[in-house]
Symmetry: C2
Subunit: 486 residues, 2 copies
Amino acid sequence: MAEISLHRPFPASEVTGWDFETDVAVIGFGATGACAAIEAATAGAKVMLFERNSGSGGASGLSGGEIYIGGNGGTEVQRAAGFNDTTADFAAYLKAAGGPCADEAKCELYAEQALDHFAWLKAQGVPYRGNYLPGKHIEPTDDSTLIWSGSEAAAPFCNLSKPAPRGHVIQHMGWGGGRPLVDILEARARDLGVEVVVDARAVALVQDGKRIVGCVVRIDNADRFVKAAKGVVLATGGFVMNEEMRRKYCPDSFRVNSPIGDQDDGTGINLGVGAGGDAIHMDQFFTTCPWTMPEPQAQGVFVNVAGQRFINEDCYHGRVSRCAVDQPGGKVYLLLDSAHFDQPLEMAGITIAGTGDSWEEVEAELEMPQNTLAATMHFYNRHAAEGRDPLFDKKEPILVPLDQAPFVALELNFQTSYFSFFTLGGLKTSTDGEVLDRTGVPIAGLFAAGRCTSGLPAWGHGYSSGMSLADCTFFGRQAGRKAATQ
Amino acid sequence: MAEISLHRPFPASEVTGWDFETDVAVIGFGATGACAAIEAATAGAKVMLFERNSGSGGASGLSGGEIYIGGNGGTEVQRAAGFNDTTADFAAYLKAAGGPCADEAKCELYAEQALDHFAWLKAQGVPYRGNYLPGKHIEPTDDSTLIWSGSEAAAPFCNLSKPAPRGHVIQHMGWGGGRPLVDILEARARDLGVEVVVDARAVALVQDGKRIVGCVVRIDNADRFVKAAKGVVLATGGFVMNEEMRRKYCPDSFRVNSPIGDQDDGTGINLGVGAGGDAIHMDQFFTTCPWTMPEPQAQGVFVNVAGQRFINEDCYHGRVSRCAVDQPGGKVYLLLDSAHFDQPLEMAGITIAGTGDSWEEVEAELEMPQNTLAATMHFYNRHAAEGRDPLFDKKEPILVPLDQAPFVALELNFQTSYFSFFTLGGLKTSTDGEVLDRTGVPIAGLFAAGRCTSGLPAWGHGYSSGMSLADCTFFGRQAGRKAATQ
């Protein structure tokens, strides 16, 4: 008898009996799986959803519940705040943020349909207060809706596309809106008759000829066979929790050490590749250290261990952090003056590395050579006072002179500070969520979305908050709908 | 009938007749394939070698014929030049140069056996003059043997492992020693009875159950079936010539635009993955721009478009070039004074971007803000005069003040200068050259070596000249020997 393996589909001819029969089997109950299930059920399919944990959530449930939305003139929230966001601008930003070899078809389709997607989310019951919260925030600490959640207003992105805030956050007091987001989607899926089976871990796909016709799930340590007449949707997340996969496909992620995820061990990627799928951009990862909390610290300047700046610090915190992690020496310094220093968030693991009444004193305390950090700061301050950053084009209001003594250098250490990270590479899929083989042909009966695929957020240096949940929810829907109409 | 595909093995049960029968089929006739064939034949196997071109060569034939060798106290060439090179130092360098998640087992095995490998190469007829050529060279322009071909003497490598020159170049007047190297190996393979079939392109593997039992080659547009009783060795090179694969797996390589290779279209990687193999570190690529020719230019200083240095320029030219390509702005500048400027090699496509009687004048001519490039150079010169580089630890004799007016800034443009490059990612193999599946288990009957695998040269930022040919020849031999003893 054939082996039950993540890496090779089990032949349908050897299945002696089906334990479950459905039209569409969805694997994984984060936001991606929930959206896929809702759309498949809405399209009239019988849907079963299998989740290895004892309940829904996944990495989505750990998130802030923020979704990147714009285009077509803007959502009503954007428009009320005075932002006209064209589809062309939105698509251009998504492509730039997606990095080299971004999936342009996905960027374009999502830019065209994001407003409809927002309406759909609201129709599922996802609440939005509808207000705009200006400033630099990682997530709103109240229940506000619209925030700047990317590098839209920062160079080079602002030169490629007219800036607009696009992070739309579920109405939820404080952080952690991902959990209520998933709860709402779960309730909707259950209302539509989706049958949820928890404590059921996917361990294999089942193949008949070239077509995927089901999967094998392990429940109470027994392998159960699931027939999925129309298709299987993989929605199992990335591989940040799988160190062996990271060693093979994403070695640079070992520079940082705070993985965020749930059971993101690459199961869906392995199942998909084993069925002939193609895993792409596997070296890419998102990382961020919450250095803009409290907010005054957003005005700081970063230098590497050579005392050099390396980025316009008005970019999204994840882009700044990702570029920081490229710097040599295992750490970078965030420089602040007394007008902008505040005690960093404790969880950030950011320490005070040096202080002084002048930048020269800070430089000396860090044991940097004379005329490195201090020269950098004098150059920066002189131009900032004129409202210019000739080197990196940082812009006001984040661009301010740091000239109020005393001064401080905070250390962001890649290993001991909280550089949270997750992987962005995964299965190559069509805009309909079909898993493509290495020649670009859909694998019949196999669909995927979210972080087990490579989607909108394909480049660690360009990530913006809300891009992953946008990708998960929108392309999760695409996959569910396509599976149901096989 | 099953389809003939690079991406899925053809079932042996559907083969209606074998056109060729052999013990070991080697695919690709560069140095890797030649070495695999020699060892398999030496072990008593009947060997056929299939090459898609009309003759041997591959990317090896385009190379300098330089092989990275050391350890066990050093080769006789190293020892005669006064270098004692321990196995521990050699292995430590290989691991550091292999980057994060280097294949430590391959580094250790090669460090232990490289001297024997050198003896073997000589026994095949590869000639070495036996002398040491000091200085900074890309390849000897005479027929010298031993050169510094990596970053051994530069930080941080020199702090991890005692430096020694390890690039051993075939005796051959001028550049291009790769061609005679392959010729010698080809002659040896033919002497041993290896049957060479040219104009024969591999288009599929043949599988019986889980075992690879042969391959399909296309000759005169007809598919011919090859039975390989003991195994198939993939030796087809990387994927630098396959833009679609680069888009999916190595997007950053599009920053540069001078691929070097032969027919390196990823055939072996696709065949291997299609058979269940694992392709790893696929984002990695080597690149270099020949800026150290003529040699005085090795004393130059690199700055990015912000006027910042970014590397100790005494590193290997490929490491400096790879770090250059990480810089923003699509170009970097090489700064030289009149004591060190010489006309760059024409093929390098390096242009003069600015000149001046002071670094301030050069800075202004490049339209950089005041006190950027000039400040960098004053800082550099002041410390270089004291024999120190406090920022990047560049060392003498490469470290010299650049203070003899007039001054020049040469532009190395990633798109228009000659940044040659090739890919480093590929199949995961055991130290015996077995292709491993995604769980780490060898795929019976399938072997690979050279640039269709991920081997010693696994990290673009750490590559050293001769590492790829070392990997190709040594692990090519391992694969051939293992295949023959199945």
